[in-house]
Symmetry: C2
């Protein structure tokens, strides 16, 4: 009886529409909290988030959800479903099983541990005292090990964590691509460092009022095709983009009045995320598929715009005069060449979020190797500071003077987000690989940048990536778009070519 | 078994905490929609509001709610409850019965009619074509008449509508106080109009940039005791204040760069509303009692600050020099006396929301008389334009040249908000009556304004009014604070004294 399935399908779609609606409310509340919600209202607001989240959790793990999954994914029903419903059901099933496999009391304990750990981490970082944080990190790792066993895994236990952020990604793939990156990039970094043709970034530091930076940022956003009728730009401490719904994808940025790079490149980066969310197909509205397919693919879009557009010579050929106008004389004596080289300075450093395009992947690799070792049992939490410092010495040639600028610098581990870091480097590799394919369709890519005609680029990305939302898995997108598996060579080639230019390597 | 009641009481409190939480999310979404949410996201956002609202509705009208009401308000249980729970139960019962007495299909029809009517009203207003709107208004009045019968009423059917906005208010009371106001104010308006000592408001019109107005507004807000750590000031088309929670009470205002009065007095008005919501007792958090007790009492607080503080000589003695500084020379040649008289100009006009302190109550009275007649059956919708114009001629001596600036000017009737208008005039009378009592405790009131020491005034209002939230009904507050029933004389005396000064009447 196909009618029976149609009816049940419609019911299921209404059911997930509700979940999507509550998640939309939660997303708006988070945006608000990070962009100026009054501090005295935060405690109560956090409880509101808690109650809405548990509403969502209840709907995701209800018996009704179990029944939808069982009935609609049965062999008789399956063939009658629309592809969107089918994919939505699979997402819901994944979520359902993730949640159901963890005993409720252990999950609650974990949430408390997580929140305590973030507090302690903050204190430990400020005091540069790893031993304060160590027992919490040990418990977090233990807990995640237990969760991995509840969830089950194939191959390496760390695969289970990778899959949370990058469905389908494995240690085997990462070992292969990171192995190549490590070898080639460490060498390239050394070549760049020994070059005598150094850019002069000091030309970039001058007083640049916030409101002027904002006006310039808005102009750049428009030029990149960000739809300001479906978004807005606000100020925050830690920049982010958030797709509250497809017609409301907000960007936030941070203004440093002495260094405009923070806002300009931050805004372009978030714009890449936002373009992804704004251009997902409307067919996916009100389903869990209406968002980026993975952290890595999301990061490929932000990095594509930040680096393959925003840090290119052609882009500034188009935009440097505009920036000069907003800079009120401070850049008038600077040539486009000097400017281009200055914004592409590369220098090994200690802090990941301040790292440049060339050295950034090495920061990620260090974290990947440590996480993998923690979950295979080869590395113990207590040894982290030493291992961290050794790896920084080996890959980047720099050593933290204390753990605050070393192993304690990132919040991720305090929040138990193990498996997240690789997405950043994956995003780089995906972006370079996409770019290589794009050049076949748009051989005039550089000319498009020079003339400010970003539309064909954006449309290409929308057609190949954005519009699919979660209808395709990350590695499926990569294969469909580039017709090959993940290949680190494209990123290596791009970086070698670019930095050979900037640093005049022979 | 008192324990059984305690347990049930706690359960009920958790239940209403959930309702409060969802309402908080809805309030934030509304604030966001009115302060810059991207327009392409609005349709989906409206559905989110719809789904959250129906969640709230379901909780308010559930069998579980019915059981709480029946069991906890039973004679055996009642005596074991805390006063807050008891009042919260009564609020919930009122809401429950309001909702349950209307057949579901009729309510749904009504919601659709209401939304259509607002659209048609907008068009009719723009075209100044009452006949376009007439059939909708007729249906709205019919519907509300039916609802009144479902709900039941005592005395005049219009009492039922008054009670929606001002619990306990009746036609008897309003006829008495409005009768006096009409007689005294019409006469005072005429005296003012025939005075030859006219203020010169032209001194107030000069270019005043938005950012300067905002800085001045923020300074004024701080001076009035608005807690900016529990609120924020944003821009909007129609200014409002919203208590999202007690620690997050936001003000919005509108800047006219040619007439700073819009923003300054608008901000002070909304500040009065906001001070009310910020100073409700924390004991009432997470209950339906944590908000102002009625539209009228709320308006008494906004009008108290706008008129009894913000339009007083003493207030400007303290703040005029600050305003002069922000006005960058444009007010340097103006004396405090000239300024005070200019901001207190009174002139009969056609548009309610542009009316001054003295003529405003007459605009309300006209609407009150019409609404009362509509629901007693003495007035028919088709005759509204004629009746409207006659009353404007009679009370204010002005006649609209078309219905767009006459009977079609306000949105209230298109939204079926019959019974709402009287709150505005009640707010004036309450404010004057409170002020009269306040003078007994704070005989140095004027001196407090002159020295910018608003704290004792705000604390007095908090102690007598704010902190109680909905724990007291409006007329109960009036009685408790002033020890007398509603008395229009205080407003008349205040206006006569003030405008005799401004217009130098003998």
């Amino acid at each position: 009886m196909p009618e029976r399935w149609t009816e049940l399908e419609n019911e299921f779609r209404s059911y997930i529409k509700q979940i999507t609606a509550y998640n939309e409310a939660i997303a708006l509340i988070y945006w608000d909290m990070r962009t100026g919600a009054p501090k005295k209202g935060i405690n109560q607001r956090s409880e509101v988030i808690g109650m809405l989240s548990s509403l969502v959790y209840d709907l995701q793990t209800s018996e009704r959800m179990a029944a939808y999954i069982a009935e609609l994914l049965s062999p008789e029903a399956k063939s009658h479903l629309s592809p969107i419903t089918l994919h939505a059901l699979k997402e819901c099933k994944k979520e359902y099983e993730m949640n159901k496999k963890i005993p409720k009391d252990e999950y609650e304990e974990y949430v408390i541990l997580q929140s305590k750990s973030e507090h302690i981490w903050e204190e430990a970082k400020a005091k540069a005292d790893f031993f304060l944080f160590q027992p919490y990190l040990e418990k977090l790792v233990e807990t995640m090990k237990r969760f991995i066993n509840y969830w089950g895994y194939e191959g390496h236990p760390y695969n289970r964590l990778l899959d949370l952020y990058e469905p389908g990604m494995t240690v085997d793939v990462l070992d292969r691509v990171f192995g190549q990156l490590r070898k080639d990039l460490v060498k390239l970094v050394q070549q760049v460092q020994s070059s005598s043709a150094k850019p002069d970034p000091s030309i970039l530091f001058f007083p640049f009022p916030k409101n002027k930076q904002k006006s310039f940022s808005l102009e750049i956003l428009k030029g990149l095709g960000y739809d300001l009728e479906a978004g807005r730009l606000d100020e925050t401490v830690h920049p982010f983009a958030t797709g509250i719904n497809r017609g409301d994808v907000r960007i936030t940025t941070n203004y440093n009045e002495k260094d405009f790079r923070t806002a300009v490149f931050g805004t372009i980066h978030e714009c890449g995320h936002a373009l992804y969310e704004q251009n997902i197909s409307s067919d996916l509205d009100w389903t869990p598929l209406a968002s980026g397919t993975s952290m890595g693919i999301h990061e490929s879009q932000s990095l594509f715009f930040e680096n393959f557009v925003g840090r290119q010579y052609g882009f500034w050929k188009q935009n440097f005069a505009v920036l000069q106008r907003y800079a009120k004389g401070h850049l008038d004596h600077v040539s486009l060449d000097e400017f281009y080289r200055a914004i592409n300075e590369s220098k090994p450093s200690l802090i990941r979020i301040e790292a440049d395009e060339l050295t950034y992947p090495l920061h990620i690799m260090i974290r990947y190797e440590i996480e993998k070792g923690l979950f295979s049992g080869e590395i113990e939490v207590k040894d982290l500071p030493q291992i961290w410092n050794e790896k920084y010495q080996e890959y980047l040639g720099v050593v933290p003077s204390h753990d605050g600028e070393g192993v304690l610098q990132d919040v991720h581990w305090a929040g138990a987000s193990f498996g997240y870091f690789p997405s950043y480097a994956l995003g780089y590799m995906y972006a370079a690989q996409f770019k290589n394919t794009m050049l076949k369709d748009l051989p005039n890519f550089d000319e498009l940048l020079e003339t400010g005609n970003i539309l064909p680029i954006r449309e290409w990305l929308t057609e190949k990536i954005h519009k699919h939302g979660k209808m395709k898995k990350p590695l499926e997108i990569l294969q469909d778009v580039t017709n090959e598996e993940l290949n680190a060579q494209y990123l290596v080639d791009y970086l070698r070519r670019k930095f050979s230019g900037v640093y005049q390597l022979s």
